[in-house]
Symmetry: C2
Subunit: 352 residues, 2 copies
Amino acid sequence: MNERRVSDHPVPRGYRKSATIYDVAQLAGVSPSTVSRALNMSGRVSAKTERLVKVAAATLQFRFNPRARSLQTGRTGTFALILSDITNPVYFDLVRGAERVAACEGYALILAESQESAENESNAAAGLQSSVDGIILVASRLGDARIRELAQRKPLVVVNRQVDAVSGVVPNVRTGIRHALDHLAAIGHRRLAFLSGPTNSWMSELRWNTLIVEAPARGMSIVEIGPGAPTLEGGRQSLCRVRAAGVTAVIAYNDLMAIGLLQASHEARISVPADLSILGFDDIFGSNFTTPALTTIRSPFHEVGTVAVQQLIMEIEHQRYQVDHAIDTQFIERESTAPPNRHHSSDGIGTL
Amino acid sequence: MNERRVSDHPVPRGYRKSATIYDVAQLAGVSPSTVSRALNMSGRVSAKTERLVKVAAATLQFRFNPRARSLQTGRTGTFALILSDITNPVYFDLVRGAERVAACEGYALILAESQESAENESNAAAGLQSSVDGIILVASRLGDARIRELAQRKPLVVVNRQVDAVSGVVPNVRTGIRHALDHLAAIGHRRLAFLSGPTNSWMSELRWNTLIVEAPARGMSIVEIGPGAPTLEGGRQSLCRVRAAGVTAVIAYNDLMAIGLLQASHEARISVPADLSILGFDDIFGSNFTTPALTTIRSPFHEVGTVAVQQLIMEIEHQRYQVDHAIDTQFIERESTAPPNRHHSSDGIGTL
């Protein structure tokens, strides 16, 4: 037994023989994940529980260390998060959520990017496979067969994608859309447009396919304007077609397009929301910076990241495979929606 | 020699004996980093060079793999990026820049966060040390001595921090501030305010200390309003003191505060920039979403992330230690600054 004070050494000697998180959990009478939370994230458990766990850990000279798993189980205590495009703002929150729960559960997170290339993604997954305990693929560009092949070698979870026989986490687009449409119908909108994203966007298709069912069910017509670039500029360029369409409210494929349309409307002296209501999708960072602040349908990517990591850990540690998770989207009402202007509500801003 | 086609296997057998990136570089007559770029990031080198490198790689049956280094040199091909706060938007670009250059140079990036705790940071660095080739500490909360101690064991680079005998990358705040003040002086501003951030912010102090020298040198007075929370709300709360101060332009410690002040001004019917010019710092994602779009002093965090990784690789692969890098900040003129309103330019919006 090493008698030195644990706190004197970043990595205590004799570590292999020291207490595990399970010993601490047993002594404290709590679950291992509570031990992890109490020792890693102050404030996430009650003060009493935190104290109890810390006393138990001190008694056993336990020191939390991500490498512990590796030494004891042959695992690396590491997993990889592979994104298709690290510059896409919708993934900021996903990375944050994943990093926080990884740290909390004692795993190190390797971040990699495929830059939208299936070949890069396949190489990254294959290259990292031997040095991680599992892989999360976000918006994968790989074929289903290749994903299943990877999943047979190491625990794997897909995000924003559904693959048979592989665990997946996707936002449930229907909940947020229904609330948004209920709101638009209640304040008097009857004619809507959807600014669609790129032609090959699975997510844009999904949103449009949901809108085209749910809007008529509430007595509203809806037209598609697009396809367009999923950027500020893509949104700006749609203004001419939006004016021509004679609608009172526009739902954009994503927040960037909505904000671009909002800026172009402002420059054209079309008042938002008095003359035109605008809604986005995702609730990206900064969507509340606009004037008026953007009403949007939030994709809960922080929670998506959290759940993806938790599912991966269930696969790694408890062999619970092939679970699908749908995370509800949420309608966020801010200031860019209002009842349509009475003077031209019958045919929208086209009459301005 | 293994005769199977390389492309049939994610990790080719007989890998240890296969060609290195240096062999490919020699055959193609280019640098190893060009090989890395040509094979990993299509479009980053000329089509001709890319083809040349690919032919050389195919000839030698070379396949790029981050693990190669580990097999050949005992290195892990991995480094850790430890942030104080992963939710701080100024670090989005830094993570992106670091990830891209890491991928390009064949390293995997482990992302970790200390949540502003020196203890968490010290534990993360110590825990990861044995499984990475080097560490980057961003806005470290550790003491200089502890940082030097870590740097003695593994290559280490600090970002937004200066520590004797340790390589560092910091934005050079003076360049951007000088351009911004030249601009404000040229369009007729004479009385400025600085919205300062939290009391213990090293970066807020640095910006204020630079402004207090550079503004008077251009015939402008400057007062400090603060300290304030570095958030939208912190900026909003400053409006009352800004009005009382009788200034025509405000420079906020960061973009979030500037945007908060802009929103509060809008609600109080103070026209920006006609009645009040507002400038931010950092150019975070979304700072162009506001109306008017925010004029700001950009902290080039994408480049900071890139340079930090490049310096770390110089330490790992070429033992070039203790190099300091200063990356120029940049004045970004958008729409939130204009000549002061003549009717009350002598004493600012206080007279409204």
